[in-house]
């Protein structure tokens, strides 16, 4: 719906600019604080731009307490998080693509019933699954390892199956039928016809599972106990609970390190992101 009059356009711009400032300010404040000398975090009135830019706050934040007790190995956390992300994203994309293909393109007895059950499981909130999963993984001896955090990702998840199935259904049947007549196996059809045509949908699934793993707090909180195995999210919370409340400049530097990779990723994949959210919102 177009706003036609110049006056109403100007008002809309004014509101949007004011809103933008409000929405950007916390991020600006995080970065500004992260670059300040400690005295400047405690000025009243506050100093908006640091008088000197202390980039070494970042080095201090990630090696905090190296020489004293309570050292927080932030590099390890980064490595752990990236490792988990790679394992989860690979597993999620592979397993859900295969499963969705089975639901979308093949006929087999019980398919629709199983698909209905799959959709119904989307209603189940995580707290219902939380306790028995913990008990199960404890029996398997997996508590305290990364395994509970990535192995389930290799066995599909209802939402991603649904998303990819809907996408696969839009690929013309003639393409795969022709390939079958030419003697292709289903796996070859999947690999050489469906996958190349589904890149946008697969990118959405990969991106969202990456984001989920990077951000996940409750999972690592439940399953990880050895401090050296923490992820960035859990590490940041640990850092805050140990050293929060005084050295805000270092805490903001640590927070920026957790946020920045996601923002950079967003700028490189903006189209996938926005389309993906619109897609999951409307079709979900």
């Amino acid at each position: 719906m177009q706003a036609k009059r110049p006056l109403s356009r100007a008002i809309i711009h004014l509101i949007l600019i004011a809103g933008s400032l409000v929405f950007l300010f916390p991020l600006f404040w995080m970065i500004s604080t992260s670059l300040k000398p400690v005295e400047e975090t405690m000025l009243s009135p506050p100093r908006w731009i640091p008088s000197v830019w202390r980039f070494d706050n970042y080095a201090r934040a990630v090696s905090y307490g190296r020489d004293v007790l309570g050292y927080i190995p932030f590099y390890e956390y980064g490595k752990n998080t990236i490792l988990l992300c790679v394992l989860v994203v690979t597993g999620t994309v592979l397993s859900n693509a295969l499963i969705a293909y089975g639901f979308a393109r093949l006929q087999w007895p019980g398919r629709n019933l199983l698909f209905g059950v799959t959709l119904a499981t989307m209603m189940i909130p995580f707290p219902v699954l939380m306790v028995p999963m913990f008990v199960l993984f404890r029996h398997l001896g997996w508590v305290g390892t990364f395994r509970p955090l990535w192995i389930p990702a290799w066995f599909g998840s209802a939402f991603n199956i649904f998303l990819l199935r809907q996408f696969f259904l839009t690929i013309p049947r003639e393409l795969s039928d022709a390939a079958v007549v030419d003697g292709c196996s289903e796996l070859q059809v999947f690999r050489h016809i469906i996958i190349p045509l589904s890149r946008p949908a697969l990118a959405v699934v990969a991106l969202f599972s990456f984001l989920y793993t990077w951000n996940d707090f409750l999972g690592p909180l439940i399953y990880l106990s050895d401090q050296r195995m923490f992820t960035l999210s859990l590490g940041l919370q640990f850092y805050q609970s140990q050293h929060g409340g005084t050295e805000w400049h270092l805490l903001m530097a640590a927070a920026t390190i957790v946020v920045l990779p996601i923002i950079v990723l967003f700028f490189f994949t903006q189209r996938t992101f926005i389309q993906g959210i619109a897609l999951t919102g409307i079709k979900g």
Binding site: L98, V117, V128, P132, I161
Partner: protein, 294 residues
């Protein structure tokens, strides 16, 4: 044809076999086990033994259960409608044909990307009583600054305020659906001399009502499970348990007190509550939500 059918059936089961395992192991088994545990006393360290309805009966008498439930409903009741309103308002402004749409959209969406833990840490700093920047702004406007995270009356509103900041995801969904509303509907309304508000009320809202319903239900489900942010910002729901939410009490019962049966009973009550609220939304929506034919 028969041979082809058999081939398809074999291949189909092959393709979905990871999910048969996943569904059973990580979904159906946990659901069944959780229901069973909810009727048991179970500390993980020794065997679960059935206690009938004792967990549920205890919960009904548990003050902290009611407190955490009340806090959660308060939070959901404020953050969901306010968040929807803000997201829809921004989306309407962005959809008015202004220049710089993609820049504004990016800016409003950015905060939704911030990981929960970083979000919590950042807002601890913003709400800080001594050097917090929010109170600096309020002082400039001569508004007396509340003790955001130290005053039991303000801790929940503070968390609602913070949730507004991350409303970008709903906004993007609204914007996409607004862009799908056919232009000819607005043109027809213009011919009839409809005002801006009439067009919103009688064209836009009915056309996007399924998306409004979807965002509302997702908002309810998400806010009833509110956990990471208060776990970090208001540990133990301090001050005075005013920010102690349902999922925090559930987590504490399971992993702090090792009362797995009690926690499972809480999880099932939450599940039933989510189902009831979803069905209620759908029922209410039945009267107002407009679905395009075809």
């Amino acid at each position: 044809m028969k041979r082809l059918e058999r081939r398809q059936a074999r291949a189909g089961l092959g393709f979905v076999s990871p999910w048969l395992l996943g569904l059973g192991l990580f979904m159906l088994y946990p659901v069944a086990a959780s229901l069973y545990y909810s009727f048991c006393e179970y500390s993980v360290l020794d065997r679960a033994h059935p206690v009938g309805l004792a967990n549920y009966a205890d919960l009904l008498r548990d003050e902290l259960f009611w407190k955490s439930l009340g806090n959660t409903l308060f939070y959901a009741g404020l953050s969901v409608p306010l968040g929807l309103g803000l997201a829809l308002g921004l989306a309407l402004l962005l959809n008015s044909g202004v220049r710089g749409l993609t820049i504004y959209r990016t800016i409003f969406f950015l905060p939704a990307l911030v990981p929960m833990v970083a979000l919590a840490v950042l807002w601890l700093w913003i709400f800080n009583g001594e050097y917090g920047v929010l109170n600096v702004f309020l002082a400039r406007l001569h508004i007396p600054a509340p003790g955001w995270l130290t005053d039991p009356a303000w801790s929940k509103p503070a968390l609602v305020l913070l949730s507004m900041w991350g409303t970008g995801q709903a906004m993007v969904i609204f914007l996409a659906s607004l862009q799908d509303v056919p232009v000819h509907l607005y043109e027809a309304a213009d011919l009839d001399g409809a005002s801006w508000w009439h067009k919103i009320r009688h064209v836009t809202l009915p056309m996007i009502s399924p998306v409004l319903l979807f965002n509302g239900i997702m908002g309810i489900i998400g806010s009833l499970q509110f956990f990471a942010v208060p776990y970090i910002m208001t540990p133990n729901g301090q001050p005075a348990r005013s920010a102690y939410f349902y999922a925090m009490y559930l987590y504490d019962n399971a992993f702090l007190y090792l009362k797995m049966g009690y926690a499972s009973a809480m999880a099932w009550i939450l599940f039933v509550l989510i189902l009831a609220l979803t069905l209620l939304s759908l029922r209410l929506a039945g009267r107002y939500v407009h679905y395009e034919a075809g």
